[in-house]
């Protein structure tokens, strides 16, 4: 109806320009236009957190952000958090702690947990469970996820200068 809009963003520390329709969500564009398939679609209505990305330092459900609203924003997806020397401590802890089974919820959990630990490296179990309430997992029963986040937090604190 209204043609496509040019949007300029920074995604995973790279300048990214894309064209989108007004009705397209950021999630649709990440997956279908930019082929960043790490961001998952779950419920598509803000309940499950599978599409969580970090936008300007805050976690958001990318299904509830219009792609046009991403103009000028800085976005981190799961593809952007591994470091040159290897996986992010959260990714490593999830792997080692069996904190995933089917894996659909995992990118959202990792990004939500990263945003928490970046702000509150000492977050305790209660805080972690509260912070992750917007991410659903139907496989693990959550416990291994919470243990993995606690472990990663400890490692990140020890590594910090």
């Amino acid at each position: 109806m209204t043609g496509r809009t040019h949007v300029h963003t920074s995604i995973n520390d790279t300048d990214v320009d894309f064209l989108c329709e007004s009705r397209q969500s950021l999630l649709e564009v990440l997956r279908d236009v930019l082929w960043l398939f790490g961001t998952k679609e779950g419920c598509n209505d803000g309940n499950c957190g599978a599409c969580t990305v970090i936008m300007d330092g805050r976690i958001v459900d990318s299904c509830l952000v219009l792609a046009v609203e991403a103009e000028g924003k800085t976005i981190t997806t799961i593809e952007g958090i591994a470091q040159a020397e290897g996986l992010h401590p959260l990714q490593q802890a999830f792997l080692e702690g069996d904190a995933l089974q089917c894996g659909i919820c995992t990118p959202g959990f990792v990004l939500a947990a990263k945003a928490l630990l970046d702000r509150e490296p000492d977050a305790d179990e209660t805080r972690i469970r509260h912070w992750l309430a917007g991410n659903l997992c139907r496989c693990t029963g959550y416990d291994k996820i919470v243990r993995a986040v606690l472990k990663a937090g400890k490692e990140m604190r020890e590594e910090a200068p």
């Binding site: 007004s22 598509n44 803000g46 046009v68 609203e69 939500a112 509260h130």
Partner: protein
Amino acid sequence: MQDFEYVAPTTLEEAVRLLDGNGLKVKALAGGTDILVQLRANRFQVDRLVDIKGIPELNQLSCSEADGLTLGAAVPCYRVYEDERIARLYPALVDATSLIGSIQVQSRGTVGGNLCNAAPSGDSIPALIILGATCEIAGPKGRRTVQVERFCTGPGRNVLEPGEMLVSLKLPLPKANSGAHFLRFTPRKEMDIAVVGVGASVLLDDARQRILSARIALGAVAPTPLLAREAGDLLAGREASEAAIEEAAKAARAAARPITDIRGTARQRTHLVGVLTKRALGTAIARAKEGKKP
């Protein structure tokens, strides 16, 4: 989702012009955490979405002991509950905003949007009502103000005329010896929709024994969030005692007009209004006693 025109004005005048669609179906977009879900579910159609987040006045959050709180309609929940001045002066607003959706939703969703969405269960609305908030509205015919308790007119409906928009919410500075609290009942602690929500605010005398005035507001028990005026008024002049609180809870139950739906029965909701009113008043009174003595 159907396609629509997306516009992002940077001034209030431009936004009002764009919202007045001349027959087009137009809606304002703030955090989008309700409206995008509703559009995707085909709850309604729009020809144009007006993104109001680029308008400076709508991002305003000023809180001072001189003027009280001005909360722009596009300010997301996290900016409210992370603000130390708001936490000190308006803890009931922190109670409510930190209950809305997930951390993800709180990054985007706004108090103004929660109000305009006019869900009977909207968590921030009873909190705004007990704190005496007023809505600053701009439209083609100029500006007007409406008391929050008069803003919602039915489920999903509010007083805004075509072309009108909520600009900000103004909350008076709480008086000395006052306190307020909002709480809700949900099967799950987070990420849920209130079966019942109750807010209460009280103003005590200088000795902090007697209630001078009180306001009680109920959520999810009527077509709109409700100011239970009689329940609050009967506390005026009373000792802050269990007997008085019990009486107010009874009056609040009488004011509720709940329905039975997927989240609860009318009977359960009426019961919850009583329980939550007592708890809300108890915490409001405790908070009033915590503050600095004048």
